[in-house]
């Protein structure tokens, strides 16, 4: 078996808050093989962003030292992620807020390259213009000297994709990169990402709450609930026959599939007050007394895994 590009094992992250310790992530395990793509889905507050921040080494100030392991290309990331900067490209959520308005966009990307890519500044400029062309930014050479406010939202996201690719990464991490954009621009950006990832053989970790996006971009999917992995498997299989009751309800909520706009009763529990046993049991239609007693193990079944012993029971 080849060494995975990214391997997360038993990752737990807690945040010190005024209401006590918030357990944001608990025993999370995921792997991405070289060139593989994994989508992470879940409701707001399920720990998606914290997972990304743990991998990128930018956890917020109040976070406890994470336990577990994050290995990138076989090397530990938790002890310090600086060595991996540039090798992991990051596309942030909001292109409007992610570039500093008072510096030229080109200079901001060149600064990343100066630190993490070999070559001279002239090399970097040349390469960046190439990248601007690859992400289909209009007038790539002139774009280097423009300020962020002189670009549209879609163009800014193209800039940020170019920035993520600037140091020839092996892994691309994208945090809902299209939510701030209008629908037609979303399609273009997703198409662009898909093409670039395929052309360059990049690994992809893609966070979203949109199943439609997952299906086009990721070959595997991890469903996160309240900081834990509820279900993991090939995207097609999970979307067609979801196992975990949470995944089933989540998919039923999707406007394209929903017969009624039901939603899932209740809300994601506060991370300071996680329920005992299975964290989903207060909202689960299949819940039994045993579900509140002990947390379910992640059952591996072929290519798939699910954290629910009653995954074969249909909703009644």
């Amino acid at each position: 078996m080849t060494q995975p590009l990214l391997a997360v094992e038993g990752l737990a992250v807690a945040l010190r808050t005024d209401h006590g310790l918030a357990r944001i992530l608990d025993d999370v395990a995921l792997t991405i093989p070289p060139g593989g793509s994994l989508g992470v889905v879940g409701e707001s507050g399920c720990g998606k962003s914290t997972l990304l921040r743990a991998i990128l080494g930018i956890l917020p100030k109040g976070a406890t030292t994470p336990s577990g392991r994050i290995r990138f290309q076989g090397r530990d990331l938790l002890a310090g992620a600086d060595w991996a900067r540039g090798r992991i490209g990051f596309v942030p959520q909001d292109p409007y807020l992610s570039l500093n308005p008072v510096f030229r966009a080109g200079d901001q990307i060149l600064e990343i390259m100066r630190r993490h890519a070999p070559g001279s500044r002239a090399d970097h400029r040349r390469k960046l213009v190439e990248l601007f062309r690859a992400v289909q930014l209009p007038e790539p050479a002139a774009a280097l000297d423009k300020y962020p406010h002189q670009f549209s939202g879609g163009q800014r996201q193209r800039l940020l994709i170019a920035a993520a690719l600037a140091c020839d990464p092996a892994l691309l991490i994208a945090d809902e990169p299209t939510t701030a954009l209008d629908v037609t621009t979303q399609r273009e950006i997703l198409g662009l990402l898909k093409r670039l990832v395929a052309e360059r053989g990049l690994g992809l970790l893609f966070v979203t709450h949109d199943f439609g996006v997952l299906a086009t971009l990721c070959d595997r999917v991890a469903v996160l609930y309240a900081g834990q992995v509820a279900e993991l498997g090939p995207t097609r299989a999970v979307l067609d026959t979801p196992w975990h009751p949470y995944t089933r309800l989540l998919l039923a909520c999707h406007p394209d599939r929903a017969t009624t706009l039901a939603g899932i009763p209740g809300t994601v529990p506060a991370a300071t007050a996680q329920p005992s046993g299975c964290r989903f049991h207060p909202r689960c239609p299949l819940a039994q007394p045993a579900c509140a007693a002990a947390p379910p193990a992640l059952l591996a079944l072929g290519e798939r895994a699910v954290a629910c012993p009653r995954h074969e029971v249909p909703f009644g």
Binding site: L99, N100, I112
Partner: protein
């Protein structure tokens, strides 16, 4: 950028016009008859009336205002009621001393205040942060005339390392007056010893005047940096692998100082008025001491001129501040450059 600059300049003209008229009206509605003051205690009503006619004080107020405005535009501020010399000449004599002092103070306040605020913000709620906050409250609370005397006591009287008063060592004579700025005149005269003496004389008054400025600038820089650190682009820059020092000192600071720069412009007004007290204590022959004399002598010509000159300097400084801001933040002057 040029158009932006011209627009800012044009906008300060109405403000200055307003200042001229307002100060004129104020000088006339306050109690006290300049003609009587000029004529002296023993003057007869006939003598006072004669002086009144001589200075045009018997004409309607609106007419006087127009004459005043016309003269001011021509750079004619009239003669001092007190000394009889042209006010413009007296002010030109003294303005450089005050500008030298206030610019030195402004420079000190900026060069010390901004790094202090930055360091405090980077150590948010740490020991350094608390010290800087304490210091900035102190800097604003301490009265400058008291601080001036304390500094004189310690550094001039006790330690004897800095001069007590004046702008230059009397024994050295003085350089030929070219600009009135001793820093420049001494260098132009090629007298390094005089230049050093002028620097040494500048230290205590400038520090006294700068302290509240340091406090203000440090506070605004600190809160600006703290606010900027919360921005998404800082998180993104960290994720993308910016260096720590570069992130704080350049990437964050440039955003944070836009507010500070506005404050520097406003601060200049406070510095000029603060200079009155500081000049008095250090016997600094500037506009501040001149204004005090003019007030005591009810010399309204001199007072009007001082107010206007200070207003012009203030307006110029604030145009410069607008320019600095446009250079820092490209969004201000419109589409880039």
């Amino acid at each position: 950028m040029l158009r932006y600059l011209l627009r800012r300049l044009a906008l300060s003209l109405p403000a200055l016009l307003g200042l001229v008229l307002l100060t004129f009206v104020l000088s006339r509605v306050v109690p006290g008859d300049p003609a009587a003051a000029l004529a002296g205690d023993a003057a007869t009503p006939a003598q006072i009336a004669e002086i009144r006619a001589q200075y045009g004080l018997d004409r309607p107020l609106a007419e006087q205002a127009l004459i005043h405005l016309k003269q001011v535009v021509q750079g004619d501020f009239g003669r001092s009621i007190f000394s009889g010399r042209p006010v413009a000449e007296e002010i030109l004599q003294r303005l450089p001393a005050t500008l030298e002092l206030t610019f030195a103070a402004l420079l000190l306040a900026t060069l010390i205040g901004i790094p202090l605020g930055l360091i405090a913000a980077m150590n948010h709620n740490g020991l350094i942060d608390h010290l800087v906050r304490l210091m900035s409250v102190g800097g604003l609370a301490i009265a400058s005339f008291w601080l001036a005397i304390m500094l004189q006591l310690v550094f001039s009287m006790e330690l004897d390392i800095l001069p007590l008063r004046g702008r230059l060592d009397v024994a050295l004579g003085s350089p030929p007056r070219l600009t009135g700025f001793l820093m420049l005149d001494t260098l132009l005269a090629g007298r390094l010893d005089m230049f050093l003496s002028a620097c040494r004389h500048l230290v205590l008054p400038a520090v006294t005047l700068a302290l509240p400025g340091i406090a203000t600038i440090a506070r605004f820089t600190r809160s600006g940096v703290l606010e900027t650190l919360q921005k998404d682009f800082v998180l993104y820059a960290r994720a993308a692998g910016y260096g720590r020092v570069r992130l704080a000192a350049i990437y964050v600071l440039r955003n944070a100082v836009t507010v500070t720069v506005t404050q520097i412009g406003l601060l200049f007004g406070a510095l000029i008025s603060g200079a009155v007290a500081v000049e008095a204590v250090f016997d600094w022959p500037g506009l501040g001491t001149y204004a005090v004399q003019a007030i005591l002598a009810a010399d309204y010509k001199a007072l009007l001129a001082v107010t206007l000159v200070v207003g012009v300097v203030y307006a110029v400084v604030n145009v410069l501040v607008d320019l600095a801001q446009a250079l820092i933040d490209p969004r201000i002057a419109g589409a880039g450059r």
